[in-house]
């Protein structure tokens, strides 16, 4: 008995040790970015300085510059608004489409399923040119609303596909029971299926949130006024000037730009894993 628990402990310690290289790989760049954002310029640009430590005292100058001397807060607000709305919109559209594809039999269901997946393959490198035309027809040129409308084009396929898998795992009988009791399909979807599918919804939402938060090329080309652009676009255009990069504030932007998502993931990580378990894999 004791031998076994000792073995278990040893294995546990070994697992941690084996994780160390992975964690170093994942965290080192993040650490370095954080360090860069906290160093004084003098030390940052000193070739003789030890790059892994702050020796000459940390500073919040770069953060201050970013927060008060640029429109970073406005850009972040835009990012948040666009991301939240695009995520919500995609989730709603994706949920109903996924439900239809998973549960209902109707004309063209199979080809629609494949069609959704193929949209992933459309190369995005030049797609934004004709898309800019469409955005303009919709009267959304230079407006953050253009992003709310266009982000779902790459979010909806994913959400649909993930939730489709998830809905299939909900036993049909549960729903049928409810319908025998007089509920309509829509009621059954809202009251029975969706509550069971919460982990799947959370997972899709997180994924969509991450993708739209990080999106760059649409945000760059469809918006330009300082009060409409998103954080990644604002930070890169404000802090890369010609052939000079302002490393301190740039990295401060990277750190601040990832905080909202890190917070989300910390809260919803378990949902994310269990959502993927049931959704993506079935």
């Amino acid at each position: 008995m004791e031998g076994q628990s000792a073995r278990r402990l040893r294995w546990k310690v070994a697992s941690h040790l084996l994780l160390v290289p992975f964690l170093l790989f994942a965290l080192f760049p993040f650490y370095h970015m954080a360090l860069t954002s906290l160093k004084q310029d003098r030390e940052l640009y000193d070739r003789q300085a030890v790059p892994l430590l702050i020796r000459q005292g940390p500073t919040l100058d770069h953060y201050q510059k970013l927060l008060w001397e640029s429109a970073f807060l406005t850009w972040t607000k835009n990012s948040l608004l666009v991301t939240l709305l695009a995520t919500t919109l995609s989730l709603v559209i994706g949920t109903v489409a996924a439900y239809a594809l998973a549960r209902l039999r109707f004309f063209g269901v199979a080809s629609f399923g494949t069609g959704i997946f193929v949209t992933y393959l459309v190369p995005t490198s030049l797609l934004f040119l004709p898309m800019a035309q469409v955005v303009n027809w919709l009267g959304l040129g230079d407006s953050k609303w253009s992003l709310v409308v266009t982000y779902p084009t790459f979010l909806v396929p994913f959400c649909t596909w993930l939730l489709m898998g998830y809905f299939r795992t909900v036993p049909k009988e549960v729903e049928e029971c409810a319908m025998v009791d007089g509920a309509t399909r829509i009621q059954a979807l809202l009251r029975i299926v969706l509550p069971i599918a919460v982990p799947g919804l959370v997972c899709a939402a997180l994924f969509a949130f991450t993708l739209s938060w990080n999106e760059f090329i649409y945000a760059l080309t469809f918006t330009s006024s300082s009060d409409q652009i998103t954080a990644s676009v604002g930070v890169t255009s404000e802090l890369i000037r010609g052939d000079v990069y302002f490393w301190g504030p740039l990295m401060a932007g990277a750190i601040l730009g990832s905080v909202p998502i890190v917070v989300l993931y910390v809260f919803f990580l378990d949902y994310y894993v269990s959502g993927l378990t049931a959704g993506a894999l079935k």
């Binding site: 278990r8 546990k12 697992s15 941690h16 992975f22 994942a26 965290l27 760049p29 993040f30 370095h32 030890v50 790059p51 892994l52 559209i93 994706g94 109903v96 489409a97 239809a100 209902l104 109707f106 004309f107 063209g108 629609f112 069609g115 959704i116 997946f117 949209t119 393959l121 459309v122 190369p123 995005t124 490198s125 030049l126 797609l127 040119l129 004709p130 469409v134 409308v149 084009t153 909806v156 396929p157 309509t184 829509i186 990080n214 760059f216 890169t236 740039l250 990295m251 932007g253 990277a254 890190v262 910390v266 990580l269 894993v273 993927l276 378990t277 049931a278 993506a280 894999l281 079935k282």
Partner: protein, 312 residues
């Protein structure tokens, strides 16, 4: 009387509503109604631009000038370009090695994360970090780490004693440059692999392991005969997704090497931008980005079929 009338009207209206509701509730109608929003979105915002891109690729389109149809000439001409042939090769090397490394490391990491751990939540969160930092900025951070002047990678390597000063010329030498861009892609994509595969591991029923153990299978045997086969559908999906995303990667190469040295890290997306936008030759740019579209569609179709067969 008045009350009665209102009652009748309500009944009539309600019965109409019930009828409508019943009608909508039929599968043949509800289905199309439910997929309409998605369909509208994709047709309006993807199908049209995609058709335009297709047209560009078979025309002589130049930014802001009238164009006409010229057939597959762009596709033929491209093949004579040194830069394009190099890009073609790079794309396969880049995608192949990055996906393979992510797969192997992803399985290992997922197995470790599935163990009893002390700071489970913190560790899982940490592993996910590279996935959530905005790419436009994290690749800049990597450039800074690789830059010849302040390379913290080389500094650390030299300090630890695994590199001779001045250390590798990361972005200036063909093989190192490819290694660097692959490494950054792996860094960014590994969390997706690890967490998704972890989700797959969690869903494998314990009884299977117990049964295998009863049959005398050791840890290796259990991994080989239970874990891997059970993970197959997950792996197929993850590899499929990652292949698509890796193949169309843009930011890493654009920031780190701009396709250099001597085009040895150019990918389809970066070359397409270089020619299509910087030079204005949209037709050629579109042809570059669509060159492998048919192949991709075929691969994905085949793989999806395989996955469906495995799962259902």
């Amino acid at each position: 009387m008045a009350v009665g009338n209102v009652g009748v009207a309500t009944v009539a209206r309600r019965s109409l509503r019930v009828r409508v509701r019943e009608l909508i509730d039929r599968e043949k109608i509800l289905g199309p109604v439910f997929v309409t929003p998605a369909l509208l979105l994709l047709v309006l915002l993807v199908a049209y631009p995609f058709a335009m891109a297709l047209y560009f690729s078979v025309s002589n389109a130049f930014i802001g000038r009238p164009s006409h149809f010229i057939g597959v000439q762009n596709f033929v001409n491209l093949w004579q370009s040194d830069a394009f042939r190099q890009t073609f090769q790079n794309a396969f090397v880049f995608t192949g090695s990055a996906v393979a490394i992510k797969l192997v490391l992803g399985i290992s990491l997922a197995l470790l994360l599935n163990q009893q751990l002390w700071f489970k939540r913190a560790i899982r969160g940490a592993v996910l970090l590279p996935w959530v930092i905005p790419t436009a900025l994290s690749t800049l951070g990597w450039w800074w780490m690789f830059s010849s002047l302040y390379s913290v990678v080389n500094w650390t390597g030299i300090a630890v004693g695994i590199m001779d000063p001045p250390g590798p010329n990361w972005l200036g030498q063909k093989y190192y440059a490819m290694t660097a861009v692959v490494a950054v892609n792996v860094w960014r994509g590994l969390p997706f692999f690890a967490i998704t595969i972890l989700a797959g591991l969690v869903s494998i029923p314990r009884e299977l392991y117990e049964a295998a153990e009863a049959d005398g299978a050791g840890p290796v045997g259990r991994f080989w005969y239970v874990t891997l086969p059970m993970l197959k559908p997950v792996l197929a999906i993850v590899v499929l997704f990652s292949t698509i995303f890796t193949f169309s990667d843009f930011n890493i190469v654009y920031v780190l090497t701009h396709g250099g040295p001597i085009n040895s890290t150019h990918l389809f997306a970066t070359l397409a931008r270089q020619i299509g936008l910087e030079t204005g030759r949209i037709a050629e740019g579109a042809a570059i980005s669509l060159y492998l579209f048919p192949l991709l569609v075929f691969v994905v179709y085949a793989q999806l079929k395989f996955v469906r067969k495995e799962v259902y």
